[in-house]
């Protein structure tokens, strides 16, 4: 009869393994730092235009940098003010907002140029024959507000083309550019090149688009922080840059997969016909391509400052060296 092996050595082995595992877990948890929770004001509603962020969060790129990102779809100006006040470390903002904020003493610094070109444009029905800024002379142009990126973009476009901005009559129409053009309320409208033209085409009104970016380079949407964060935690700033860069790279490499990720972050995107939003993504992607991820073109900042001074939105030049930086790129 075979002797049954004593259970004691087996139990002992199991005990030691258990102790080793528990100790290893304890050591591991002591070494792992909980990710820093960061609320990021986005400036607009959930939209496919934020695909790089959705992808970067979805694939854990921000977590790799120790950042747990939380989207806050607040107004752009509120985000800038919160960062300037030191209440939040980061926000998304357009270049002109940074200069306007700095002029009022908000210590904000732009450190990652996500959009390489300014997306504002003037759209008009294709049969109107409006193809250049010169064609806008004497026309009525709908504009959302007399301020912000739309107004700056229009001013920059006309001035760059050597046409007085007053040569056309601006009509404030709120964010109703699509409705205004469809109803024929205005001859043209200031739009975002990656958005309203696609909606209008889908609704049966093909439009010609006069892009600001074809006439002048302006600093566009990107990540901002405050001087306090730059001094106290530059690695966190670089981590934001790295994570966003990886998100952009992934979207550029595989827009179809990125669009699928967007469906998890944008309510209703997966319902009905997603073709318009898919085209919005494709059009947006063209603004994100760059030779060096996140790099700010100094000329774009000079041009932006010049437009703001000429339109008297800035009373005096601000120190551009503190307004933006290329020192925190991946």
């Amino acid at each position: 009869m075979m002797k049954r092996p004593s259970p004691r050595p087996v139990l002992g082995l199991v005990g030691w393994i258990t102790v080793a595992l528990v100790c290893s877990a304890c050591a591991s948890s002591a070494a792992t730092v909980a990710p820093e929770r960061i609320r990021l004001p986005m400036g607009y509603i959930p939209n496919v235009q934020y695909a790089p962020f959705y992808v970067a969060v979805d694939r854990g790129y921000f977590l790799d940098e120790g950042i747990e990102l939380e989207f806050d779809y607040a107004f752009e100006t509120d985000g800038v003010a919160l960062v300037g006040a030191g209440e939040l470390p980061f926000s998304l903002a357009s270049g002109e907002q940074v200069l306007l904020a700095r002029a009022q003493g908000l210590p904000v610094t732009y450190f990652y140029a996500w959009w390489q070109d300014f997306p504002v444009a003037v759209a008009a029905p294709i049969e109107s024959g409006i193809d250049t800024p010169q064609d806008l002379i004497g026309k009525s142009i709908g504009i959302p507000v007399l301020g912000g990126a739309s107004f700056i973009g229009y001013q920059a476009l006309m001035r760059a083309a050597g046409v007085s901005p007053d040569a056309a009559s601006l009509e404030v129409i709120g964010y109703n550019q699509v409705e205004a053009l469809l109803a024929g309320q205005t001859d043209a409208a200031v739009v975002y090149a990656n958005n309203e033209p696609i909606q209008l085409e889908q609704l049966g009104m093909p439009v010609s688009v006069v892009r600001v970016a074809d006439y002048v380079t302006l600093s566009s949407n990107g990540l901002i922080t405050n001087e306090g964060t730059l001094q106290s935690d530059p690695e966190l700033v670089r981590g934001m840059s790295r994570a966003l860069s990886r998100g952009i790279d992934d979207v550029l490499a595989d827009p179809d997969a990125a669009f699928e990720v967007c469906k998890r972050y944008i309510e209703g995107l997966g319902d009905g016909d997603p073709s318009v939003q898919r085209r919005v993504l494709d059009a947006s992607i063209e603004f994100w391509r760059s030779e060096r991820a996140g790099w700010s073109d100094p000329q774009a900042w000079e041009n932006m400052q010049q437009v703001l001074l000429e339109t008297e939105l800035l009373k005096a030049p601000v120190d551009l060296a503190r307004a933006y930086s290329n020192d925190y790129l991946p």
Partner: protein, 240 residues
């Protein structure tokens, strides 16, 4: 005055930057700058005009409809759900649609203002007219008063105290209506000035516009109160 001193002291002691909370001295300076540029009065006048027009339109419609509803219970049963429904729609939600329907000019702001004025005036009109004692109506009938005479000599004077309550609320709400319209789409007015200054991170400029709006609301309230005293002065006169 004590409030202003406390505000100034709070900002100075806390060291808050002006873009978060400007002290009253900075707001005052900004007021003088903006007033000197001339545009401030134009913006104020535009908003005042929208408020007055909205009030006239809103009060007129509310009064006419209120009279019909007060006199006809069957009409009230038909209209009440629609009237209540119209008030359950947030003005900020419908304002962008009104801009699309009526354009971005003065008309849309006047209508938004009228919409917000309408309900309190209507309710007070109905309550006021129904509070007229029935025996006074019997008296008018015994005197063979015409419908118009009953309306002008009894219904209106007797219900005015209650109606003025609605008018006071409506006069201050009209300010909100005009500003909501200006927030959505405008190139002039105090609401536009607030939007513009927010975009420029000029918090002191925002305060200037907000204080002017408060001033307009107080002016409207005072004007209605003055009218009330003039029209209802007989109530306080000692009986002969």
């Amino acid at each position: 005055m004590a409030g202003l001193i406390a505000w100034e002291a709070l900002v100075r002691l806390s060291g808050l930057p002006a873009f978060i909370l400007p002290p009253p001295s900075v707001v005052g300076r900004r007021f003088l700058e903006l007033a000197g540029e001339g545009g401030l009065w134009r913006h104020t006048f535009v908003t005042l005009l929208e408020i007055l027009a909205g009030l006239v339109v809103g009060v007129t419609i509310a009064f006419l409809l209120g009279y019909l509803v007060a006199k006809s219970p069957s009409l009230e049963r038909i209209l009440a759900p629609y009237i209540v429904a119209s008030q359950s729609i947030p003005v900020v939600a419908i304002a962008p649609l009104m801009i699309i329907w009526f354009g971005a000019g003065t008309l849309s702001k006047v209508l938004i203002s009228a919409l917000i004025v309408f309900f309190p005036v209507l309710v007070n009109t109905v309550v006021g007219l129904r509070s007229v004692p029935a025996d006074l109506h019997d008296l008018m009938r015994s005197l063979r008063a015409t419908r118009w005479q009953t309306f002008t000599k009894l219904d209106v004077p007797a219900s005015l105290p209650v109606m003025f309550g609605g008018l006071k609320i409506g006069a201050t709400l009209a300010v909100i209506g005009a500003v909501v319209g200006e927030f959505v789409a405008a190139d002039q007015g105090l609401g536009f000035l607030i939007t513009l200054n927010r975009g420029l991170y000029d918090t002191a400029g925002v305060f200037v516009a907000v204080f002017l709006l408060i001033g307009l609301a107080m002016l409207m309230y005072s004007a209605v109160s003055f009218l009330e005293r003039r029209m209802l002065g007989w109530r306080n006169r000692p009986e002969a």
